[in-house]
Amino acid sequence: MTARGMTARATRLVRGLQDRGLGVAFGLLVLAGFAAALMLRPVVWPQGLAFEDAQRVLSFPSLRHPMGTDANGRDVLARVIDGARYAFIVPLAALVVGIGIGAPVGLAAGLRGGWLDRLLRRLLQGVGLVPPMLLAMALVVAMGPSVRHVVVAIGLVQAVVFARAMRDQVRAMHDSGFIEGARAIGSPVLRTVLMHLLPNTLARIAGEIPRQAAWALGTLAAMGFVGIATATSATEWGTMIREGAEYLLAGQWWAALFPGLALLLFGAALHTLAASLDERLLLRGAPGSGVGAGGRG
């Protein structure tokens, strides 16, 4: 083993960790931490959330209340942990709505072309004029504040994103001859779509998934912050930040800061996962893209 070989090997190792290992590990660790806290809290500390102490309103973080209490005397730590429930469920449910509607529409538009494709593009152009977060908020306002409506609104906006991504991928594979290649060996259209087209296109829009989840999380918090996410006060981070913010100027920062930090950490985890997923997909390459092909280049 030469010295040069050793250095090259070490460089590769570090870069590998940076590229994938660390990013993925950080993202997964954070998400797993939140999930574990969410599940363990009722077991370890069953009375935490129910705790309401009129004597200890807005008390400074202490051993008893590590993140202090809020204006109603509720424990902030317990509520921050419980807030992860929304952080998991809302983006996930919205993704189901978004992919469930967007992927089939994009697939159909990409495969068929023609009027369906033109209609989709018009729709995308129209929707593209409005900032997506504003659009989602407007939908919630129209339907009335509730978590279910938040999910539907975010999901619908994301359906547009997924439809576009899917349509572009399918179109690219159509134009590069991939679909005709399958037809030329006598593969029925439905089989080509299910066995070849969908796995490849889904793999390539997979990079969007954590990114969209992060966006959904941010939008949920924004809705909570302006007070349209839920009808009543909920243990949702954005809502908690709004409620705590009233006392910020008075020097009682903890009721707003800790939910804010949780939001930041959760969002960062999703973004890191998105970034490392993108990199992997890029490395793997795809038909027609030329990336990764031509091993002798």
């Binding site: 040069r4 070989g5 090259a8 590769r12 031509g294 002798r296 280049g297």
Partner: protein, 314 residues
Amino acid sequence: MLLDVQDLRVERVADGAPALAGVSFRVVKGRILGLVGEHGAGKSLTASAILGLLRPAARVVGGRALFEGQDLLRMSDADLTRVRGARIGFVVQSGHATLDPSTRVGAQLIRAMSIHRPIVKAEAAWRAETIMSSMGIPEPRQRVREWPHELTPGTVQRVVVALALINEPQLLIADEPTAGLDITAQMQILDLLHVELRRRRIGGVIITRDLGVVAQYCDDVAVMFAGQVVEQGPVAQVFARPAHPFTRTLIGIMPDRLATGGGRAYGGPLPENGEGCPYRPRCDQATERCAMVPPLVGAGVHAARCHFARIGAA
């Protein structure tokens, strides 16, 4: 001697694997050298190394590239910049990648001139038109005002040749100058290069995968395989008496020579790196001796790197 490349060694930065394992060849003033080999043999890499364009993927680890007596491999970046595009012209594979899409053709030619010397604008514009017309581009006065995307692929390649020649270099390196062009456009570009190099009495290197380009347009040939030059010599001599088995194969499978149905395999994956002759896995004359590094057989103008090479009529 215009360019004398001696034992050029290049390795990949990522894993330290050798990419060029001692490339040597010579370019004589007034003659055209064909540098021929397969995909991945190291042809383009050789050109990049000579022109100092390897980074960041690869680096030079040995050898010399003497251009008019100066070693290009040891030249500072500033000096190299003065050589590149001025004393050595370069034509790359994809013409469209060379041209700046947001600058009119004439302005690009003028810019190429003004980089290397102060020039009066009116004179530069006149020279741009003149060189376009000498490249066989009809209506140069209109063409100089056009954008690259408005040109046909053949015209793009003519403009790229014009860019390489406009500073009157002593050496022109053309890396697969006709890749992707149709056959009639390919002939036009090769004719153009041939005529211009002859007229200017400068040296030329044409990098190609097609031995036909060498047969029809070059004076000398250097055959590359797996990062080495395995045979070099004057075209007439090499075609009449190829000394290396790879050269023999390449000539034997040219369209007007190939007899199909012989059942023999000519291609194959590149061999693993290791000692001995790299062509051994594909060679039908290989013996145990080929596990040893083959010597350079022959002297002077025609030489080959093979244990069994016989140079000359003997």
